[in-house]
Symmetry: C2
Subunit: 483 residues, 2 copies
């Protein structure tokens, strides 16, 4: 177990509804870890009893998986000593198409997915996701049904526009002008597969190898990885209780030609801080003076509780260099991969051309279904419902943090967003903490990765929105019991 | 008109079902062309009567559009002389967020989309697409309905696997082994957003800037552009009646270290030639000897008429370096953006990690709906239906080509695929031909772009599958009338 970076529960995601036998799911999960090099030859595996408990299956199932892997040569047993990853791996057995291939390719193993798919049996403090149990499934099902009943339904089955379905772009443009004070034109919106694709397209339209890019630290790892992948040189800027420390940024501008700054001003990731207005105006002023792009990631705009949602940087008339990224995934559900990006017309037009070689176009069927929900008000009704549920859970979260962890942590109740950022008053490794907690059925994300250099932040980002009051209390109590 | 590279009918795609007024759609279309720099200041626009005819709307509608654009400052009139793109463009009017932005970004305007979205009023010889009018819409609607009725439906609304829904991967692995003689393992399949994303991921996992890549010439432009975008140095290899000229490739291998070869062996794009077995074995042998990857794009596997579908290169035991790309878009409909890629385990695992920063995951709802259709046999029933329709249209196509163009063209009836490749016996520019034909209500793709250096191939690729017998005859007759 010691060698494992991540706990077994997050490695072996079991789906009991799956066609594939559970023991085989375990086996494939272990094979995948070995292939990725995370499980090295000679590494000891946990005893079948231990692993069975960890992942919540019958011990016999684990025995079956181990036996299969031993038969296939992935694992070997040293009698009494236990089960180990084989010293000589069965390259030829991994799969027919893998046998002795001798071409070279790029290793992307540095790219790591943020959200682990944890079994629903756990109490999971995710990084700030909505509660999928609240997803408006009936409305969505109805919308899909109506889309398929359209007389002209066959028309949508051909190729569509690389910027996305016009009907949805018009609906988004209306929403942005009515609710976010922006003057977006539907022709300047590119609908993407979630905000991650909006980010990928933006970065790969902006960046040339060697360009300097500044971003918040602590910050959002997938953004960091997307910039690195595009060849950017990253510079970190600290975040305090007012958001990005813009004076630091100004010092950087004086010595380096910045291409872009990536910010999450509404609810900073991971600290949940809302950027104050004087910082916002200064940031825009710097962008105009030094000619760098501001990439504004407004990932959960709807959920602001203390005041009305703050208007985006993009709504400021002086903000001429802002590329605005947002998404419906946090509003409806993560599986609804609909994000969008808007910005200067020429930029969006160039970005859309890149998009045409990545996946050509979006999912017109889903885009039309979502447009339907925006037009008939179902999205707004859902947003109101969800807002009230999360507002209440936020209070419960606050109460339990004070009650169980009060003297051992420091935190500010965030003005908005779906997560709390709590700092521990004593040093600890959240990597270790997360493994300890898993044994007790609670999943938290280690935050070392948010400092980019792996150094400890001595803090946790606790997404609360997808947990009920009871789950929140049990979760916090469990955290209190191990620290 | 002279300055326009593409005909108005393909530039201004009008959707009469659209919320946006038709005159506004025309106006936005023209603005987009101006923004893209395709319409330069001072360029003369066609008279309202001419344009109205070209795009098939009432002249008043065009007048409305021109008036709006003149009011907004995009166009100006020189009395009597006509309407022109303004010498001074209203930068500030393009959109608020565009006003005076001063950051730099990459220009992707070299990337061009292959399929123009032509109005359904035209007889369109596309590049070999299925007939969307045959798409199994009712089955698809039912499948979505069932997916939303699942008791565990909320579970799919969270984050899924970056390689795609396991249920669909298992169904695809079964299909590949039963129908294509491959031994793909579901764990080695990455489901993508159509084969274009499979290609993008493959290229960006394989290529480092400066790598040499060989591909068929004439060939598939989007593949060319994807490789170029990744920094590859492209080398073309000729195609004859037996497919890729492998001896040419061998000469290249002797002098250059090839990273990969991109091929469409089943039905070569655009010539529709099927690669003969001796060429296939030689290609695989070269790949093993010189250690380059073979990217096999099997984009329309189902439609082979002369013999049974040829098994992919990937089914050969010796083919250890093959990365196999295929798709359901040609089988179901282009809007069903489900492609997949399989290959050596470590390669697919690295590719999937790249995917996680592009769009994180696929559309689980659509993936499960398609899995449903594969499991319950609906896809196979549809494939049989479509196969018979296309087989018949292929005969009609052949008869009409002989009847109307017999002495003026040379072609071989292709063994499979959804397009014919016809060579004209006299020199002509297909660019010009395509504009002439549009005036007569027929759309064909110019093929200069398939030679990559823009030189004329004196040939057309005529996709026949989405046209009825009557449409095919009228289309061919019209072509005969202008050449």
């Amino acid at each position: 177990m010691v060698q494992m970076l991540r706990p077994w529960k997050t490695i072996l995601t079991l789906d009991f509804g799956n066609k594939l036998a559970v023991y085989r799911q375990i086996a494939e999960g272990i094979i995948a870890e070995i292939r990725k090099g995370r499980l090295k030859p000679g590494t000891a595996l946990p005893g079948t009893r231990v692993l069975a408990e960890d992942i919540g299956v019958n011990r016999k199932t684990v025995v079956l998986a181990y036996d299969a892997l031993i038969a296939e040569g992935w694992l070997e047993t040293a009698d009494k000593k236990g089960t180990f990853v084989s010293a000589e791996l069965p390259k030829l057995k991994t799969t027919q198409t893998n046998a002795g291939s001798n071409f070279q390719f790029n290793n992307h193993s540095n790219i790591e997915t943020l959200q682990a798919r944890t079994p629903s049996s756990l109490i999971t403090f995710n990084d700030g996701l909505p509660d999928v149990r609240l997803a408006p499934m009936d409305e969505l099902a109805k919308a899909y049904k109506r889309i398929f009943q359209q007389k002209t339904r066959w028309r949508m089955m051909g190729y569509g526009h690389e910027q996305g379905d016009e009907r949805l772009r018009v609906a988004l443009a209306d929403m942005l002008s009515h609710k976010r004070g922006m003057t977006a034109n539907f022709a300047n919106i590119c609908i993407t597969r979630g905000s991650q694709m909006a980010l990928y397209l933006t970065v790969n339209t902006l960046i040339k190898t060697g360009d300097y890019v500044a971003m918040e630290c602590p910050g959002y790892l997938p953004a960091w990885q997307t910039f690195k992948n595009a060849g950017a040189q990253m510079i970190t800027v600290n975040v305090d209780e007012k958001g990005l420390v813009v004076d630091e940024l100004e010092q950087i501008c004086k010595v380096k030609r910045l291409k872009a700054v990536y910010v999450t001003p509404h609810h900073q990731f991971p600290t949940a801080v809302s950027m104050k207005v004087e910082r916002r105006l200064k940031l825009i002023e710097l962008s105009n003076r030094y000619g760098f792009a501001i990439i504004e990631d407004d990932y959960d705009h709807e959920y602001h509780f203390e005041t009305k949602s703050l208007l985006p940087l993009a709504s400021e008339v002086q903000a001429v260099n802002v590329i605005y990224i947002s998404s419906l995934s946090k509003l409806v559900a993560p599986a609804v991969r609909i994000g969008y990006v808007t910005g200067p017309a020429e930029f969006i037009s160039s970005l859309s051309q890149l998009r045409s070689i990545i996946d050509r176009q979006g999912d017109v069927i889903m885009e039309q279904a979502i447009a339907e929900l925006m037009e008939n008000g179902a999205i707004n009704r859902h947003a109101k419902r969800a807002y009230n549920v999360y507002k209440e859970r936020r209070e419960v979260m606050d109460q339990n943090l004070r009650r169980y962890l009060g003297d051992r942590i420091t935190y500010r109740k965030p003005e908005g967003g779906l997560a709390f950022w709590i700092k521990f008053n004593h040093e600890l490794s959240t990597e270790m903490l997360s493994s300890q907690l898993l044994k007790k059925g609670v999943s938290v994300m280690s935050t070392e990765r948010f400092s980019f250099d792996g150094k400890s932040l001595n803090a946790l980002r606790l997404g609360y929105a997808s947990l009920t009051a009871a789950e929140l209390e049990e979760g916090i109590r469990t955290i209190a019991s191990v620290i």
